[in-house]
Symmetry: C2
Subunit: 485 residues, 2 copies
């Protein structure tokens, strides 16, 4: 397996990055029922290449430019091998002390690496600290639930006769209209009103617009309680104005959470910390080392100012989970939604030690440099436009004119499978996102990718393109209506 | 690393199963800050044994009897090596088709292996199917949220003028007083009333008691909406009467979820499926192959009858997540709380194929047989009692008499580190849980473990035991009050 993995990653450039399969393709390659008797390992192993690989979207490919990255690396994989062999569950300190303690230490390391204030670190003076969550979605949900709980408690103190559900019905959460879909999901789960604040011309939520919305809602008798500021949106990697948003939240007593899932990784480079201004006033922040720091998924680090807010939201303590040091050590089960957690700090520890802070900074800088190169190639081609400023490793672009041509371009690129991109909708404009992801991507790759894009574009525009695009669009719509399984 | 892992697992019997460390022990062994430059691999690797292992609770040890098991195996580890190398995210079908499709197939395999009705499987005729969740806690939460959503919608149809929050404030969830703490957490998150139904003498929730509670609550104007039936409680592996509970739920239109986290694994043996009677009427069920089927954590398989109930609770669909086959293929992001998921079906697939159904059945049977042996050893010693019937691989026992003697026994056993058990509270009775976990446990181990227990017991009882126990109890209380970090 080790040899197979090394060869897979070494030769990944030769594979089609996006598979050319249809839904149901695995179905015919695997029996309907589990085998009664065990099968020999060579048969199982052979099916990796025969059954699985034809249907894999190769996220580690240098030609993968969709979504935001999910990188892996050898130190990360080695750590996880050990994690899976030990296979301890880290719900309480006692369930595996090293699991809890290493998590406290490496979240402190990473917190310092991005310049977080002292109160976000585990230390004797503060109630704050870091925790590794499964995903950024969960971190958003946890902070929303903690804010919900704190606000209801605070309101109850002032108005002890108001039923909890009346308070609950008035709670309003805020985020930019560019925020990630997980904010909407968190509001659905928390059953609170979510108000999207209109972003400005740079796709950024300003403090003024937020305050305007809060003031309006308060006039209506609603209770604003929580804000998610996005640092690096999914659409175009724009940044909310954290400094002013945080000040508004602080003044209005709202829980302020910063979702820095992708861009937060770049804060290990001091030159990108301008976007973190205001962090000293916020309540929680999360970033995904699983995106850009070569720690494979899942690994989201979340820091909170006030861990007792999490405890109050989640604390349930049956006897089978108490231990001699209950109350003296951190039991991470109170910091998260599931009871159990894997020993995930090992992979963060191995990766940070293997590359060092400098090595990780170089990795970020290289990604940004390649994105700049790609941006300059687009800018030199007058058929294209870049409708949102490039930040970090993400470039969004489109063909000038109607949306349909860019949509067709995106679909054709993906169907050829040489590179993989996904679209986004920026206030009605259909754009293609091109994110530099893999640490294997080189300048040469960017040139090859650009050639692929221009080849497809040349063909597309040389055809009586609009007619053909219309036809293709009709076919896709038809296919959906027919509703194949 | 492969060699280290093999040697770790081969010689795990020689390690102290429960570490003898104090909170903060890792602190002095690791620098305060991340290294600026990368470190050589041998230095990092050496710290596994120097820093980490002294603080690990060895869940794979044959002497580990705490909690419920979390087993690993070579096929499971091999699959995860590959998963971590591919490191694809499976939120939509397109984000890695093989990830979604294999998950559909192996959850069908396992569903058939435990005898689930056809409507819980992925097929063209039904809306049901399986999904791999991170934990059983999350499955419980997801089913509660889906039930909440469905009930609010149904109620709104009948009473369109009632505000959602008024309906919400009346929702009541039910579980046995023996249910897992994750049910309480789910109710806290869903912000619904949770009512504990008193279990009977066998620690089982009956349909009659449930109906009584529902009827009472309806008289008060409340809206019963969701029930969690536990198949294999954490305290003593008791079983709610699913057949009658499901009938009550069906009649009263409540979502019925079965939490079979541990015991569900045993249902691959037909002789244990008696506890599943009634499953054809329920809405969702979850079990953890990560507990007893040698698939390492995390891996919870959840089956639902009506996947659109999950969709309605969680569906958010931004453009960057749509793809050519949206609507034609399953996008698992709508079946779960986080957006992203790992390629977890690989490890389930490798394990089922490597052992075959028969091999896995033998593994379950061996665990039960060893538990029977341990039970017979206890029964032969008149100083002990078994206050709850043994089911499957869990034996609960205590010293006859007051709770404090058993509590002292449990603490002393753990502090010696040779075997590891945790206590439970069975309606006021302090018991020690002894669960057969590791596939490495042999009859000889059980005898050695029993000798350890009786050695500690002999010492404890030969002292002027009550006085000493009282003193120890005072010391622990004092230590907690002093509140070391």
């Amino acid at each position: 397996m080790v040899d197979y993995i090394c060869s897979y990653l070494d030769s990944i450039r030769d594979r089609r990055v996006f598979p050319g399969v249809q839904p149901g393709f695995v179905h015919d390659r695997i029996p309907e029922n589990a085998p009664l008797d065990g099968e020999p390992w060579p048969d199982i192993f052979a099916d990796v290449e025969n059954v699985i690989m034809p249907g894999v979207t190769h996220w580690q490919s240098p030609r993968m430019h969709a979504y935001y990255p999910a990188l892996t690396s050898y130190p990360s994989m080695l750590a996880e091998m050990l994690t899976n062999a030990i296979n301890c569950l880290g719900f309480t300190w006692a369930s595996s002390p090293a699991c809890t303690e290493l998590e406290m230490i490496v979240t402190n390391w990473l917190g310092k690496m991005i310049g977080l204030p002292y109160h976000f670190l585990h230390n004797k003076e503060s109630d704050g600290g870091g925790v590794i969550q499964t995903t950024a979605s969960e971190s958003t949900l946890i902070s929303l639930l903690s804010g919900r709980n704190i606000t209801i408690q605070r309101y109850l103190k002032l108005h002890p006769d108001v039923p909890i559900h009346e308070i609950h019905s008035k709670l309003v959460a805020y985020c930019s209209d560019q925020a990630h879909s997980s904010v909407e999901k968190a509001a659905l789960i928390g059953l609170v009103i979510l108000r999207y604040v209109e972003s400005d011309a740079e796709y950024s939520m300003t403090g003024a617009k937020l305050l305007e919305a809060i003031t309006e809602d308060k006039k209506k008798g609603l209770i604003p309680f929580w804000v998610c500021a996005t640092l690096g949106t999914t659409g175009c990697c724009s940044f909310d104005d954290l400094e002013n948003v945080a000040q508004v939240c602080h003044k209005e007593q709202l829980w302020c959470h910063a979702d820095a899932a992708y861009a937060g990784c770049s804060f290990i480079c001091p030159e990108y910390r301008k976007w973190l201004k205001g962090v000293d006033l916020i309540d929680s922040i999360a970033l995904n080392p699983s995106k850009w720091l070569m720690v494979h998924f899942d690994c989201t680090v979340m820091w909170v100012r006030n861990s007792s807010a999490l405890h109050c939201a989640f604390n349930v303590s049956p006897l089978y989970l108490t231990h001699e040091f209950s109350g003296l050590a951190i039991d991470y089960m109170h910091w998260q939604i599931p009871l159990s957690k894997r020993f995930r700090s090992l992979k963060l520890w191995f990766v940070i030690r293997s590359y060092g802070v400098k090595g990780l900074q170089e990795h970020i800088k290289k990604g940004v440099k390649l994105a700049e190169k790609f941006e300059s190639l687009i800018k030199a081609d007058k058929r294209f436009e870049i409708p949102a400023k490039r930040h970090l490793g993400l470039v969004v672009f489109r063909l000038k004119g109607d949306n349909m041509t860019t949509e067709t371009l995106c679909k054709r690129i993906n169907s050829r499978g040489k590179i993989h991109c996904v679209p986004a909708n920026l206030n009605g404009k259909y754009v293609i996102r091109f994110c530099i992801t893999s640490q294997r991507t080189t300048e040469q790759d960017i040139e090859t990718d650009w050639k692929e894009i221009t080849d497809v574009t040349n063909n597309l525009l040389s055809e009586n393109s609009l007619d053909i695009a219309l036809q293709e669009h009709r076919e896709v719509t038809m296919k959906r209506r027919i509703g194949q399984y």
